[in-house]
């Protein structure tokens, strides 16, 4: 009897907690006036020095992000020696692998992970119609929750500059991937760090100033 009562009480507390959490977000399609687009006009391309560690593999080179027209953009990674490792085309929030270095394209799990991580970094789902806004932000941040793959992407947007300061992918009780944006200059993040929680996957991007 005592056990049953305790179980019922726990269920009630959990229900109140869950319903409380779910009410914190309201439907709010995000616009460019709410969050500044990452690539701006698209000219010239954003160039980042990239250091990518995926499990035991290490890649270094230059990552380019460029808006090629009003609907599409590309993310291209080239090594220092000039070898192109991958080229993704993004239309709305869908990724298409245009080309990959021979051998790289035979690792579908790697490609999928890259698509997901790069999409989170470059905010490909930001302007989704299904986006939600948290009723109360944390400190000076506005928080948007956007359906992303099978979970959510959470973006913490600085209320004043309207630029992301951090993001994570996962759900409300477990973050799978964390992103930190830092050193903004002229509206562009000077540094971006992505980390997987519990997996040896990490990306370090440092902006290359225009040459």
């Amino acid at each position: 009897m005592k056990g049953k009562l305790r179980y019922t009480l726990i269920c009630i507390v959990l229900l109140i907690f869950i319903s409380g959490c779910s009410r914190k977000y309201v439907a709010y399609p995000v616009h460019a006036s709410d969050v500044k687009p990452m690539a701006g006009s698209g000219e010239p391309a954003l160039k980042y020095r990239a250091s990518i560690d995926i499990f035991k593999k290490h890649f270094s080179g230059i990552l380019l992000y460029k808006k090629t027209d009003s609907l599409s953009s590309h993310i291209v990674f080239v090594t220092e020696l000039g070898m192109k490792i991958f080229d993704f085309e993004i239309k709305a929030d869908s990724f298409r692998l245009i080309s990959a270095f021979p051998g790289f394209d035979s690792k579908p799990h790697l490609i999928e992970m890259l698509k997901k991580d790069l999409g989170l970094i470059f905010q490909t789902s930001m302007y989704s119609q299904d986006a939600e806004k948290r009723k109360k932000g944390i400190k000076a941040n506005v928080i948007y929750r956007i359906p992303y793959q099978k979970t959510y992407a959470y973006y913490f947007i600085d209320a004043e500059s309207k630029q992301p300061v951090r993001a994570y992918e996962g759900n409300w009780f477990r973050n799978k991937v964390k992103v930190r944006y830092e050193n903004y200059s002229n509206g562009v993040a000077g540094g971006i760090i992505l980390k997987h929680i519990g997996l040896p996957v990490r990306m370090n991007l440092t902006l290359i100033q225009s040459q």
């Binding site: 250091s51 380019l64 220092e80």
Partner: protein
């Protein structure tokens, strides 16, 4: 006004045609004489030191990535390929060992245990030295003009064809060393490396190739 515009336009068109003619290459008449020059060059070259500019052209993005640096080569199989802009990055080849220095991170590879590095090493060394003709990995087409020579190298191996369409190598008339290398990919992208401030057979200290 119209006349002035016409004169300016004609000047630009004419100078454009002249420039195009300078660059125009025709099939080489005496390839055996050229091969001999290449042999002499490969044998007489003990060391090369040069600045370089590398431009990666991404066709889909209409975007260029420009890097600059310095390289040193010394016989046999010693190469220091160092980028200084947009950031510091160095590849050091010492016989069958490769060291990559990327900021504070240093990675060492054994060339014989890594097929890709072996391939890159062979092409890099053979390209700067000019003895790539003997590698047997390419079908070579020879061209010349008043200023120099151009070789078009088409990869023979299926694996290499997937990532490389051809390599263009440019030599001056004296065939003293490689002046420019262009690598064309099947996607339409290319990598162009120009060599400047070249110093042949100078004394390069051995410390430059030490893997620390």
């Amino acid at each position: 006004m119209l006349r002035t515009s016409f004169v300016i336009l004609s000047f630009f068109l004419f100078s454009g045609i002249l420039c195009a003619q300078k660059e125009l290459f025709r099939p080489m008449k005496d390839t055996s004489a050229f091969r001999q020059k290449i042999d002499v060059m490969a044998k007489s070259t003990q060391s090369i030191e040069s600045d370089f500019q590398q431009v990666k052209e991404l066709s889909a993005l209409t975007e260029k990535v420009t890097s600059k640096g310095h390289f040193c080569f010394k016989k046999e199989n010693l190469l220091r390929w160092e980028y200084t802009t947009p950031y510091k990055y160095m590849i050091l080849i010492n016989k069958d060992k490769i060291l990559i220095k990327d900021e504070a991170r240093i990675t060492r590879y054994d060339m014989n245990s890594n097929k890709i590095f072996k391939e890159i090493n062979d092409i890099m060394i053979a390209s700067v030295q000019g003895n790539i003709l003997k590698s047997g990995k390419f079908r070579v087409v020879f061209f010349e003009n008043e200023k120099g020579y151009k070789l078009e190298l088409y990869p023979l191996a299926k694996g290499m064809k997937e990532s490389l369409k051809k390599i263009n190598m440019y030599f001056d008339k004296a065939v003293s060393s490689v002046m420019k290398i262009e690598m064309e990919e099947p996607s339409g992208d290319s990598t162009i490396i120009d060599f400047m401030n070249k110093k042949l057979n100078g004394d390069i200290p051995a410390s430059k190739f030490i893997l620390n």
